[in-house]
Amino acid sequence: MSELSTEVPAQSAKPTIFFDGVSSRRREVSLALGDALDIVEEGGAPVRWTYADIRRADSPAGILRLASTSAPPLARLEIRDAALAANVTARCMRLDEHQTSRRGVAKIVGWSVAAAVSIVCVVLFGVPLAADRLAPLVPKPIERRIGDASEVQVKTIFGRKACEDPAGKAAFTKLVNRLRDAAGLDDDAMTAGVLPTSVPNAFALPGGKVFLLQGLLDKAESPDELAGILAHELGHLKHHDNMRGLIYNGGTSFLIGLLFGDVTGSSAVIFASRSVVEASYSREAETAADTFAIEIMHALGRSPKPSAELMFRITGKEGGSGFTILASHPLTEDRLARMTREDRPASGPPLLTDTEWQALKGICGSGKI
């Protein structure tokens, strides 16, 4: 170490090391603190750093590591002697100017909260609006394509082909056509079928596809019971609920994923908040479809009540278990209560004759699946 403390302050026993940012050579240097910081290496060209340019760089405890904005970006001066470090620090007025300060953190928090609030607003108001407006505008061919894709999936799950018994099919077509005319669905591409599975359910797919599952058909005791449920599914078609749901689910999961920081959306928070938001949305859609079913049944002069009774036979009383805030459908007992209020004595002709009803019940053959 150089004892030639030529200039101002004392050089210490602990070496001061300089890396010039061009090579990894470790240079032992001495410092001269004048108008600017002079870094002197024995036998090397002196380097001069202006105090205002000097910034602190990350270092382990006990070492002051400096960089300079006017030197090569990776040039570093490491001072290991505490007294010398204090001496240099005192002269560098802008040493910590580039570090994240308390205000910087507050700024990050503020902006994040603003971003979060805006995302939440978009999820709560923007996406439903967009879904409502966009869903009717989705071109029919695209809707049909999505429908075709989901039909293939549905058939993969529930297996085999739709039930084909001719007399049953005729009866089913008659029932669906009457409902469709009453619903004012002009979609001539609408298709309906019965799938041979014991699951008691019915659903509508995009592009005007209605599927009744045999399990539900078996439990139905009159054409009216079935008609109310089919009318409910037609309501979903009429309101474009599939496309709305698609846009809505896609939009919310993307945005909520964005909020919590992974686009694919895997964490529990995302799952939980999504289910709450989406359930309320789908409950609205279900209630609207129920309203629609009630209107159609009234238009046909039949009561909507039997269909709710059928649902109640299948699900039983639903309340009392779990969190109702997460339920995607209104509770069956609530729907039954509503349909009962809308109960009116039949004023129109039966939707199917007894013979047709028997034929429909046997559409999947002997009924054994």
Binding site: V22, S24, P60, R76, V105, G319, I325
Partner: protein, 381 residues
């Protein structure tokens, strides 16, 4: 697998090996991640860019090779910008994925499932590019590390080897790791020195084949699983460190096979403790809600009571966040900081003189790769 910041300065004759020192203060790190985790909560996760940067700065700056500490020069803003750019690119890709998926489904039910594999490939690409970002922000003695090579070429290798590993039920894993690591290290540079990886699959296989054989047992007897995993990880780390070369500098490690037992069990212990506390908290919260509302339990959670189940929901959410916060801190302290320190204390650097006078070179890489890794959930350290 992660890389450790390495540097070395070799001298031609066989000098005694140098050690790597980690001087980080544990409680300082704990405070750092605690503060970071809390800020992450109140910022809905946006603070993660700053937190991850601070963690790296701490770990890098306290890691000294041959007496000189490394430095991490990456900044959180770069990560944020990288993430936003990655989003802008990922969103159309997700949309395209959705539309192509529909066409596939029309043709055959669930035929679009393999499309998901393309995201895995993209994830591998992201891993490579994220490594490049981190490496170009790693500085030792005023010279940065850098990387060339192609992310897609790497991704292709990773996919092909992944298929082989899948077909051999995992037996090909050592060779996959060796091949991928060779690719990564051969495209790694420190100034004008080039890296290499000399580990081979066979060595790794010999060290770990019995773990592969016994792994079905761990599935049955659950408490054995952490031992197996710790055993595997320790052997993997040691094999990996032994293989690393940069110019004439080489690394070796004496990491004992049981080095990680304690770490993993501590994490599991904390995890169980937290679960118990969380369960107790939920129970207490339920009782409190029931008591305050003065209704029987069924009615509180029953129908028509959406309004009354909201306090419960809020309590659950608060509890969940508290647990997430605690888990976050525990994972970072044990599995990042402690693991880092434990591994580094076993590392020896040979022939460090070879890095005594290296000329700096290499360009800074953008943080886009890190953004992709973040967006696809494959981010590492």
């Amino acid at each position: 697998m992660q890389w450790a910041p390495i540097g070395s300065e070799p001298l031609p004759p066989p000098l005694p090996p140098t050690r790597v020192d980690f001087t980080g203060n544990r409680s300082e790190f704990r405070k750092l991640v605690t503060k970071g985790a809390m800020l992450e909560l109140v910022t809905f996760g946006f603070y993660r860019f700053w937190l991850v940067t601070d963690i790296r700065r701490h770990l890098w700056a306290n890691t000294a090779v041959d007496g000189d500490a490394a430095e991490y020069t990456g900044r959180a803003k770069e990560l944020l910008v990288g993430f936003l750019f990655a989003l802008a690119i990922l969103v159309p890709i997700y949309l395209a994925y959705f539309l192509i998926g529909i066409e596939f489904e029309r043709w055959q039910g669930f035929a679009s499932t393999p499309l998901f594999i393309s995201f895995y490939a993209f994830g591998q690409f992201a891993i490579f590019r994220a490594r490049r970002y981190r490496l170009t922000r790693t500085v030792w003695r005023g010279v940065r590390f850098w990387m060339d090579g192609s992310g897609w070429a790497y991704s292709f290798r990773a996919m092909a080897w992944g298929l082989l590993v899948f077909l051999t039920l995992g037996l090909a894993l050592p060779w996959r790791e060796a091949s991928l690591e060779r690719y990564k290290m051969q495209h790694t540079h420190y100034g004008d020195l080039s890296g290499d990886f000399e580990g081979d699959g066979w060595t790794f296989f010999k060290r770990g084949w019995w773990l592969w054989l016994l792994s079905p047992i761990a599935m049955v007897i659950f408490p054995l699983a952490p031992f197996f995993y710790a055993e595997f990880k320790a052997r993997e780390w040691r094999w990996w460190l032994d293989g690393i070369r940069i110019g004439g500098v080489s690394l070796s490690s004496e990491l004992p096979h049981d080095a990680f037992y304690g770490l993993y069990w501590k994490v599991i212990g904390w995890w169980m403790l937290l679960s118990i506390i969380f369960a107790a908290y939920l129970g207490g919260a339920t009782m409190l809600v029931v008591k305050l509302s003065g209704l029987p339990v069924e009615q509180v959670f029953g129908p028509d009571n959406t309004a009354k189940s909201i306090p419960m929901l809020v309590m659950m959410v608060i509890g969940y966040f508290a647990v997430a916060l605690a888990v976050n801190i525990i994972m970072r302290v044990y599995l990042q900081r402690d693991l880092w320190a434990k591994v580094l204390e076993t590392v020896e650097v040979h022939n460090i003189g070879a890095a005594a006078d290296v000329r700096g070179s290499g360009e800074l890489a953008s943080a886009l790769g890190e953004g992709f890794a973040d967006g696809l959930d494959v981010a590492g350290f």
